[in-house]
């Protein structure tokens, strides 16, 4: 996925001089995960800006650049450090279009690695997509693999509104996928059916797509159950049409994510299903998510994370209900 993101950045910076990258260590170092590798050599330090260490200023400056007419892509090294920029995202990135009645808008992207599973330090493993999805005016996008990461990043850069783009660290280098050389974009706010099925709908996003898809395979092989699997891709705007259409067909749903369960994106999916597909439901909707606790330091990290087994159990219970 790192290469796919890097490819998107190279291609978009090549074709649009207004696209800039800024953040700490994004230049000479190529980013702590190497997502911005090779950019400074090709596009120079005016466009690939190694900034002083201040996440609030990285985002705040990007807002000014975006209002000016540029398309900044900023990075905070871990989503756990993006809270310094909370004020700028909530009070300005999200609101400038609204406040100025459309005179200014903020076509910026905040790229930031999120999620657990790589034995990292404290603050390096959280999934707090709800913060940004809860703020009107922001878009919140989470790819689940190399191909959609590249396509969604291109769309996010071109989007006229501010996009928070979460990259799951655990799948940065976990698996490979063919990414076509020719340009490929995907619409923001549109979920994707990754696997079709008539018996049950599994809904997930980001790094949790892998255990979810794996559970679907096992259900097919061992239980003869065909699960439909939906990858949300955008947490906001949330594509409830695709989700509701699927659940109206299957009557059963399990939502899988690795955020604390309460008030999470999974909760919102359930709420919308209750509003849009209640009369089609044949069983209570289940959430498989992380508990409402801090991500433990890595000794207990795997115990904390939802996995294939937990998805399977919830799916089977839903089928039996």
């Amino acid at each position: 996925m790192v290469e796919a993101l890097n490819m998107a950045l190279h291609q978009e910076m090549d074709s649009d001089n207004d696209v800039l990258v800024l953040g700490a260590d994004v230049g000479v170092d190529g980013g702590v995960f190497r997502v911005t590798e090779g950019l400074i050599e090709k596009f120079g330090e005016q466009r690939v800006i190694d900034t002083p260490l201040a996440e609030g200023a990285i985002v705040g400056t990007a807002i000014g650049m975006a209002a000016y007419g540029l398309k900044p892509i900023c990075e905070t090294q871990f989503s756990g450090f993006s809270y310094y920029a909370f004020q700028q995202l909530e009070s300005h990135a999200a609101r400038l279009r609204w406040r100025s009645r459309g005179t200014y808008h903020v076509p910026m992207v905040l790229r930031t690695p999120y999620a657990a599973g790589i034995r990292a330090l404290e603050h390096h493993s959280e999934s707090r997509e709800t913060y940004w999805a809860h703020t009107p005016g922001l878009k919140m996008v989470i790819p689940s693999g190399p191909r959609n990461a590249r396509a969604l990043l291109l769309s996010a850069i071109r989007d006229p509104d501010p996009v928070v783009f979460y990259e799951a660290k655990s799948i940065y280098r976990a698996f490979s996928e063919d990414v076509p050389d020719e340009e490929e974009t995907m619409p923001l706010g549109k979920a994707q059916v990754q696997r079709e099925g008539a018996d049950l709908t599994l809904i997930s996003y980001g790094a949790m797509m892998r255990p979810t898809l794996e559970a679907a395979e096992i259900l097919a092989e061992d239980d003869g159950i065909q699960a439909e699997v939906i990858d949300l891709l955008s947490i906001s705007p949330l594509d409830h049409e695709t989700v509701a259409a699927s659940v109206s067909k299957t009557g059963r749903a399990v939502v899988v994510n690795e955020a604390p369960r309460s008030f999470s994106a999974a909760s919102e999916v359930v709420a919308r299903l209750v509003e849009k597909a209640f009369w089609y439901l044949e069983a209570p909707i289940r959430r498989v998510s992380a508990p409402d606790v801090m991500v433990p330091l890595f000794a207990y990290e795997q115990a904390y994370l939802p996995d294939t087994k937990r998805v399977l159990r919830a799916a089977r219970e839903t089928l039996e209900a």
Partner: protein, 384 residues
């Protein structure tokens, strides 16, 4: 920077406790004081027309502020921050900008906004009234005006000025960006981060700090132990200057220098305008709880409007009769603005569904649903 060299040396042959020479000092600039004394050597070369225009704008801001306070007390507009006493700090700085330059205000910039909108003074006041009456329509502007909308969270707007200025530099547009904030803002993190980024990237940003002595109830001396606010610039390797913020000439002269430096590509400057908030923080504030009348009276003697009128009288550009005529003209303009504001707000009051506009470039489906839902509610409410 000499600092780095010295530190490097300290690690080498000459370990010792030494003084690192920081060749920095802060200038204080005052040109026409409250006693009417003019320093002719420092007197900036400003055309008579420009001087009179600046005076007119200051007077309009003062009278408009008074009128708005009155209207707020009558319940015709909501809470707003008063500008009285700070007109020279704002007009003296903003007037140096060219039309294509950018102005990034905080929430007390009535005079700076009035200057930027001086070609259409009535419309400018109508928009301020609408904004203060709770209509976001008053916050709209034309993009080519390069005026940012009012920003409320203290100091957060300063970073945007650095980003805008980076854009100007990147495109080689030659535009400079002026940002306003107060003494309280210098305690916020965004101020320090913006100063650092602006200096590191050498952006054409003019940081105008209006030190009006009070951040609501916290006096300047409790805000920071620094002797001046301007010296904070030095920590970022940026020139800083303190000026008599009630002296239009001093503010103008300092800003001219700062802007010349920015246009040459020599980076940002911080200007501390020492001034005083003569009135309330906002209409919700009661300053008698925290400051003495004597202090206010002392500062009233140094206030900027009388000061510039004295200067213009000395120069024989203005007399009492001319001031009276100007007062009448301004009164008429304010009256027109209030009338137009009443008409416009009457038209706007039933347009609550505009709250769904400008959230995103295109309204997403779920939001359209919420809009339709509210439309039915509002329809029902109005027919009940």
């Amino acid at each position: 920077m000499p600092v780095a060299t010295h530190l490097h040396n300290l690690q080498g042959e000459d370990m010792a406790r030494k003084t690192i020479d920081l060749p920095y000092q802060i200038e204080y600039l005052s040109i026409f004081d409250e006693e009417g004394n003019l320093d002719e050597d420092l007197e900036p070369d400003i055309s008579d027309d420009l001087l009179l225009d600046m005076h007119r704008c200051m007077l309009l801001s003062r009278r408009f502020d008074e009128r708005m306070l009155n209207m707020q007390r009558q319940g015709r507009i909501g809470t707003f921050a008063l500008v009285q006493g700070q007109e020279a700090s704002q007009v003296g700085s903003v007037a140096v900008l060219q039309a294509e330059d950018w102005m990034v205000p905080s929430y007390r910039e009535t005079a700076a906004i009035a200057w930027r909108g001086r070609q259409q003074p009535v419309e400018t006041m109508v928009k301020l009234l609408l904004y203060n009456a709770g209509f976001y329509q008053g916050s709209a502007s034309e993009r080519e005006e390069h005026n940012f909308p009012t920003s409320v969270p203290v100091s957060s707007q300063i970073l945007h000025a650095v980003g805008l200025a980076y854009g100007s530099k990147y495109r080689e547009a030659g535009e400079v960006v002026m940002v306003y904030f107060g003494d309280g803002a210098t305690s916020e993190g965004d101020f320090h981060e913006a100063m650092n980024f602006g200096s590191v990237f050498q952006t054409p940003t003019i940081f105008v700090c209006q030190n009006n002595q009070w951040a609501i109830s916290i006096p300047r001396e409790e805000q920071t132990e620094s002797k001046t606010l301007a010296q904070k610039a030095l920590g970022y390797g940026m020139p800083g200057i303190q000026v008599d913020g009630n002296d239009l000439l001093a503010v103008y002269a300092a800003t001219q220098e700062a802007i010349a430096r920015a246009r040459k590509g020599d980076g940002p400057t911080m200007i501390e305008c020492v001034t005083y908030r003569l009135s309330l923080h906002t209409t919700a504030d009661d300053p008698t709880r925290y400051r003495e009348d004597e202090e206010v009276e002392r500062w009233a003697e140094r206030e900027p409007l009388t000061r510039i009128q004295n200067y213009l009288k000395q120069k024989e550009l203005l007399d009492d009769k001319a001031i009276e005529k100007l007062e009448d003209e301004i009164k008429a303009q304010i009256k027109d603005a209030v009338e137009e504001f009443e008409n416009r707000s009457e038209e706007l009051k039933d347009q609550a569904l505009t709250m769904f506009e400008h959230i995103y470039a295109e309204i997403p489906a779920y939001l359209q649903e919420q809009r339709d839902e509210l439309a039915i509610e509002l329809e029902g409410a109005s027919s009940e």
